[in-house]
Each structure stands twice: as structure tokens, then as C-alpha cells.
């Protein structure tokens, strides 16, 4: 098990190097450069040249890449050309926001998705099954930004229950020891703050969690259906075991394997893919940060952010593989 994890971690090195080379090339192929992005329509030829010299962009690309990797190894992701802050510092602030939102969204997806899928399977082809199919289809096909606008319209503008933007009320001061605002509020025993942070989380979490909810529900349904037809389930029932025990111990546990896979992959995806939700809710996380970086051609931020995403997705996949072993002892991780 340990050897497996170590080997997988070592495999990360060539993967990340490959990603960084691709990134480095792609980012430099973007139209416009940071010099022009900084200067806009006021750019004169001399000032563009001066900035390019200053940023080292006039040197051969392999020299630039070499310098980049050298810094990377030392944990230096560069400096944002826009905010003039170290990229790593910004990452430390943005990532917790994204994690908080992704977890809230996944919690929403799991809490509703698994029971929905389970009930649909139990009532196979019944009303509940069809209803859950219907809900899932809508969940998957509804554009996130539209759902977000709709949710805000109903719950914020019409009903006035929930805020439309941000992580916390801007007139409220809360301390940020960790930058996970919910955790921060709990740690500082700011209970009003906890409520406020939760209120800010609800709508973005629903908007972001709808697609994973639909996917989790469909996968759970399929997995449970498979298991329900297994001999050991019939045997368990035949020997007179309490149906709820059968469901819990025999059906759910065995059906969970694909569900966990999907949850893991979806979480990984949410940690990187919340651009739309973050933008619409002005959520200061990775997604809106990357979008801004692309808008301002902030090379260091684009590279640092995407490299971090690559690392994240690889680690999530690894975590999923490891959890297989826990859920199903038949799987050997020796290879």
C-alpha cells in the first residue's frame, strides 16, 4: 500500500513537468502579451519593449522555461503582474475559498444524490425512479450560470433571504486564521459569523452542486440496481435479515464503489472547474482568479494556477484509488 502510494507520487514528477512545458508553450501562444495587457491602447513600441525586457520576455523561450523551473523547484511560482503579489500568497488565499465551495457543493450533491439514487433503484421504473431521472436530466442540462441567476433572482432579489455575492457580509469583520471562512468563524467562536458564512454558501453550493447531484444520483441508482440482483442479497433477505440491515450492510456498501469513484472525480473537477459559479457569485476563489489572470494576461498566475490544478487532479485520482482498497479488500494496490 505504502509502496503503491510512493510510486504514484513519483509518477507525478514527469506528469507535472510535461504539464508545465505544455503550459509554458500555450500561454506564450496566447494573442497579446503581458506588456500590451498592462499598457492597453496606450502602449507605445518603446514602452512595450521596455516591459518585455524587464519581464525577460525577449529572451529565448527555453531560457525563460529553465528559469521558471528553477524557481518552481524552490517553491517560487513567480509574481503576479497585476496585483504585484507573489502567486503562492494569492494561491493560499484563493484555494481555501474554492475548497469551501466545492465541499459545500459536494455535500449538497451527496446528501441528496445518494438517497435519491437509492430510492430510485428501490422503486425501479416506478414514479420515484422516473422523477429522479427527470430531475437528473434537468440538473445535468441546466446551464450553471443560468441556474445561478435564477436562484439569486428567487432567493435573494424576490424573497430577500440570501445574499447574491461574496463569502461573507462586507460589513462584518471576521478573523482569517485559515482563510476557510466557516472554519475561521467557528475557531473564533463567532457564531453570527458562522450563520452569515453559511448563508453566503447556500446558493453557490446549490448552483455548483446540481450537476454532481445528478451524476451521483444516476450512478448510485445503477450501482444499487446491480447489487440488488446479486445472489448474496437474495440470500440475505431469504435468511430473514432485517431489510434495513440488508440495504445498509450488503447493498449500500457494495454499491458504493463506483459512487465513491464518481464523488472523487467530481470533487477534483469542482476544485478546478468552478469558474462560472465563482464569477456569477463573485466568489474570490481559483476560478475567478484564473479568469482574471487570463483577462490580464498574467502569465505567472495562469501557469501557477494550472500547474496547481494538475497536481490537485492527480492527487484526487490517487485518493480515489486508495479509497477503493478500503471499500473493497479484493482490490490489490501492489501494482
Amino acid at each position: 500500500m505504502l509502496r503503491f502510494v510512493v510510486r504514484r507520487l513519483l509518477q507525478l514528477i514527469p506528469i507535472l513537468l510535461g504539464v508545465s512545458i505544455l503550459l509554458f508553450a500555450f500561454v506564450r501562444a496566447l494573442p497579446g502579451g503581458p506588456a500590451i495587457a498592462l499598457l492597453g491602447e496606450r502602449a507605445t513600441e518603446e514602452s512595450v519593449e521596455r516591459i518585455e525586457t524587464e519581464l525577460g520576455l525577449d529572451q529565448p523561450i527555453y531560457v525563460q522555461y529553465g528559469r521558471y523551473v528553477r524557481n518552481l523547484v524552490q517553491g517560487d511560482l513567480g509574481t503576479s503582474t497585476r496585483s504585484r503579489q507573489p502567486v503562492l500568497e494569492e494561491l493560499k488565499q484563493k484555494f481555501p475559498a474554492t475548497v469551501e465551495l466545492a465541499f459545500a457543493a459536494m455535500l449538497f450533491a451527496i446528501i441528496l444524490g445518494i438517497p435519491l439514487g437509492f430510492l430510485a433503484a428501490k422503486r425501479y421504473l416506478g414514479f420515484l425512479d422516473n422523477a429522479s431521472l427527470f430531475v437528473s436530466l434537468i440538473g445535468i442540462s441546466f446551464p450553471v450560470f443560468f441556474l445561478a441567476l435564477l436562484l439569486k433572482y428567487v432567493f435573494a432579489i424576490k424573497l430577500g433571504w440570501l445574499p447574491t455575492v461574496g463569502r461573507v457580509d462586507v460589513t462584518r469583520s471576521i478573523e482569517h486564521p485559515t482563510n476557510f471562512y466557516l472554519l475561521d468563524a467557528v475557531l473564533t467562536r463567532d457564531w453570527e459569523g458562522v450563520v452569515d458564512v453559511l448563508k453566503h454558501l447556500v446558493l453557490p453550493a446549490i448552483a455548483l452542486g446540481t450537476i454532481p447531484l445528478a451524476i451521483v444520483a444516476r450512478i448510485t441508482r445503477a450501482a444499487v440496481l446491480d447489487v440488488l440482483n446479486e445472489d448474496y442479497v437474495r440470500t440475505a433477505r431469504a435468511k430473514g435479515l432485517d431489510p434495513s440491515v440488508v440495504d445498509r450492510r450488503h447493498v449500500m456498501r457494495n454499491a458504493m464503489l463506483p459512487v465513491v469513484t464518481v464523488i472523487g472525480l467530481q470533487t477534483g473537477l469542482l476544485l478546478t472547474g468552478a469558474v462560472l459559479t465563482e464569477t456569477v457569485f463573485a466568489w474570490p476563489g481559483m476560478g475567478s482568479w484564473m479568469l482574471e489572470a487570463i483577462r490580464f494576461r498574467d502569465y505567472a498566475v495562469i501557469q501557477g494556477g494550472i500547474l496547481f490544478f494538475a497536481l490537485l487532479v492527480s492527487l484526487t485520482n490517487l485518493a480515489v484509488d486508495v479509497s477503493y482498497a478500503y471499500l473493497n479488500p479484493k482490490i490489490r494496490l501492489s501494482r
Binding site: P31, G32, I36, L38, L39, E41, A43, E45, S47, I51, T53, E54, L55, G56, R67, R70, N71, D76, G78, T79, S80, T81, R82, S83, R84, Q85, P86, A97, I111, L119, K122, Y153, A156, W161, L162, P163, T164, V165, G166, R167, V168, D169, V170, T171, S173, H176, V195, K199, V202, P243, S244, D247, T279, V280, F281, A282, P284, W289, E292, A300
Partner: protein, 556 residues
Amino acid sequence: MRRSVKLWALLMALMLIAAACGGSDDAGTGDGDNGDGAAEGATLVFGTSADPVVLDGALVSDGESLRAIDQMFEGLVTLEPGTTEVVPGLAEDWEISDDGLTYTFNLRDGVTFHDGTEFNADAVCFNFERWYNFEGTFQNPAASYYWQTVFGGFSDGKTPSLYKGCTATDDLTAVLEINNPSASILGALALTSFTMASPEALEQYDADSGKVDADGIFSPTGTYATEHPTGTGPFMFKEWVRGDRLTMVRNPDYWGEFEGNIDELIFRPIADPAARLQALQAGDIQGFDLVDPQDYETIEGDDSLQLLNRPAFNVGYVGFNQAVKPLDNLAVRQAIAHSINRQEVVDAFYAGQGVVATQFMPPEVVGYADDVTTYDYDPELAAQILEDAGVQTPVQIDFAYPTDVERPYMPDPQANFEAMVADLEESGLFEVEQKNATWSPDYLDNVDNGRYGLYLLGWTGDYGDPDNFVGTFFQTEQPAWGFNNQEIFDALDAAEQETDPTTREQMYQEANRLIMDFLPGLPYVHTEPGLAFTANVEGYTPSPVSLEPFSVVTVN
């Protein structure tokens, strides 16, 4: 099974209750609204499009940084709200020597910086000397853009500087000396980038130290520009959480009159325009800038909201490159101008926020002339002009527009372009070869290097001086325009240096007449960007150059 269903039902019920509880307390942002009338100690949350870069006026040129700095800092002179007229700021009045090289500023007495230190002539000179002595990355045009635009070079002498020196002749008299007469300098000193910072705070919080990383990118190591910006303005810095809020509070020792009732002013970055509108509708913010033209109707139709228009301070134009034949022929340029229906373009694509331009500067700028030659839409006249000049029709021209870009003066370049091309071709007088390129860098590069004949472009002013419009375009020979007209160059040189305001205005008016007779391009639009507020906000005065103090704003 039944048990778990119950559990879920219970959970759902709890969530519903939680949501309902959320509704019981006020979802507003506590804007201090206590019934009717002006609320004492109001809070105003304003939605911005992005965070400031840093809060040091000398080092920024982007709108969101300037907006925040404006609330906390003041310059020697400022602008009358809503106009580009220069009025006293921290200087009560000033004298200009006859040769136009010496400006003596008499400073206001009893002004203190937010850190309690005294504002005086030494502080003024300290600030000028700081800017003049910027080194290394501080000389990056992305940082000290306005210094370089107005004063040129630095103390290292690599490029000549307009700045000569600053002397504090007594506590309240600062004498600024410059190397050449420049009448635009007074207007330029109203720029946010030339506002006065506390010398003590600048030193204490290391405003001028920073490190340059391996990529050559400068980052400040001091905390002045992020945590301790210290000016004399009506609001003081309280807190800045990037991506979340910039909080400012009322300066209790403000020297001037604080007309509004805002105690706490919060700038909240919301990048998405639709999200800004929803936040306004929900009461999460009380105002925002840069309203999408498509949202004007929604805002105007909502009694709880109001739409304000910022006076036009830009120009969109069709450039004619006279190096490309036959655009060197005045008759061809005139015929093009008469063949394009500018009114229709403005009506169709600017959501009622555009006015047809008659010259290369908006009416708010000094030197605007009411009597320039205008070119109404008249294809028949165009045909006549070409015939009289003996030009063979159809005339072959090439015409380019930028892709992947929206500018305030050009929200939809392609639509503008297509309408104009249709006009030109329908007249039967022109055959248009259509071209396009991505805005940055290809399009701008092609325009600047004179690779197009006709092209769409525009300009947003930096400060309220005609030199910032026509001077930028036509004071020297440029490949984009491809002409050498000494008469225009000389007229603009002379106007720029004239120090008597009335004479200067007349000189610029004359220059505008010359330019529009010569017709180096066809200006077609000035736009008025929209700002939205909740209906209970009063007193906000949109300014053409976006210099808009919140200290005069009242939240009812």
C-alpha cells in the same frame, strides 16, 4: 430503510427551517437605513469591477485603483465635480509666472494627513521629489504612467523631464518649477496620480522598497500601498481583503466640508456585470459602475433603482491612413464621410448612450468648437464631390476592424464595421476590401504601423485637457494617419504651450476647425457610460474623468 427515509425527511425539514430563519433577519447589508430621511452614519457598499492594484496613486493608472485612491487622497488642485474645470484643492490659489515656468502654490492652512502629521510645503515637495527620483521598476510605464505622460523623464536624465524642481519657500508656499511652459500641467495636477501622501507614512511603511523577482517583476515589500495609504482626503483606509472588500471610514479631522452622511464606504469587487446588477437589486450593494447597455432598461424600469450617465469622455472614429492611396485625396475622404450614416450606427449599437461626434474630442473638453465643418450623411453629395474632383468610381479602399474586444466607445466593433461597409457599398461609390485582426496585439500593431487604409479605433481621455485628445492624435506625424500637415502640428504645439486659458481655448477651437477641414479621420461617436444606484442614494455626481467623491453622497 424506513428509518433512513425519516432521517432524510428530518434533514430536509431542518434545511428548510434554516432557510426560513435566514429570511427572518434583514438580508440587506445594513446600509444604515433607519426609516425616512438621511441616515446618520450610513454605510455604502459600491460594486467595483476589480480590486485596486495598489493604493499608491503614483504607481497606478487603472480605473479601480484610482477610484479608491480618490476617496482618500487629494491633490494641490482638483476638478469641479462633474466637469473638467480646475479648482483649488489643497492649494487655495496659485500664481503662474509670466514665462509660464514657475507655479507658486499657496497651501491651505490646518490640513493634516490621516496619520496626524501636518500637510505643508515640505510635504508637497517631498512628494514631487519622490516621483521625480523613481528608479528601476518604478520607471515601468505600467507603474508611473501618469508621471511619464505629464512630466516625461526622471532624475536619472535618460529622457528629458518637464520637472525642474520644487521649493518650500515657507510653510504654506510651494514653488514648482518646470523646464518648458505647459498649459496642460495644471489640469494634469488634478490627476489622482499627483495626490499628496504623508511623507512620514511613505517612509515608515517602505513605500519605495520592493524586490524584483527572477522574471523581473517588481513587488512592493513595504506595506504602505496595501495596508497604510495615508492622504488628507475625506475617507481614511481601514481594511483591504483582496477579492472581498476595501473598507474606508470617514476622516473625523477632514479640513473641508463633508456634505454627505457616509461613515463607512466599502468597495466590493464583483467582476461579472450581471452579478453586479443582481447584487444591486438584492440590496447587497448600493451602487456600481460600468453598467451593461443591455441592462439600462431593467434599471430604468425599477423604481427602487436609478441610472446616472457619466458625461462622454471618449471618441470612436474611422481612421484614414493617407499613406494608402487614394486616401491622400481630400475629396475621397470627404466622400467617405458623407457616405457613412453615423446617426444610424449610433442609434443601432449604443443603447441610447451615444451621441454622434463632430470632432476628435467630446464637448466637455475645453477647446471644443461648435462650428467645425460637419459631414452629414448624403451619398448624393458624396457622388458629386468625387465627380467634381474627377475621381473614377467605384473607389477601391480597404477597411479593418478589431475582433475580441469591447471598448466604451465601441461595444461591438464588428456591428459598427458591417453597418459602415454596407453604407459605403450601397452608395455605389466604393468597393471595400474587408480586413480584421485580434485587437491585441495584431490590430493595434497594424494600425500603429500604418498597415491599414481605413480602420476603426477610439480613445478614452486620461484627463480634462484638449492636449490629451487632439494632441495625442495629430501633434506629430504618425504612421497610423500617414500625413504631414505642418499647419496642424504647429497649431497644436502653440496651443499646448499657451498659458492664458481664454487664448488657449480659442487656439484649440481653431485647431479643431483645421483638423475637421483636413478630415484625417471620421469621428463618429462619444458614449456616456452608465452608473447604477439604489434610489435612496443622493448626491453622486458623475464626472467625465471619473473623479467622483463619495463624501458628498447621502444615503437616505
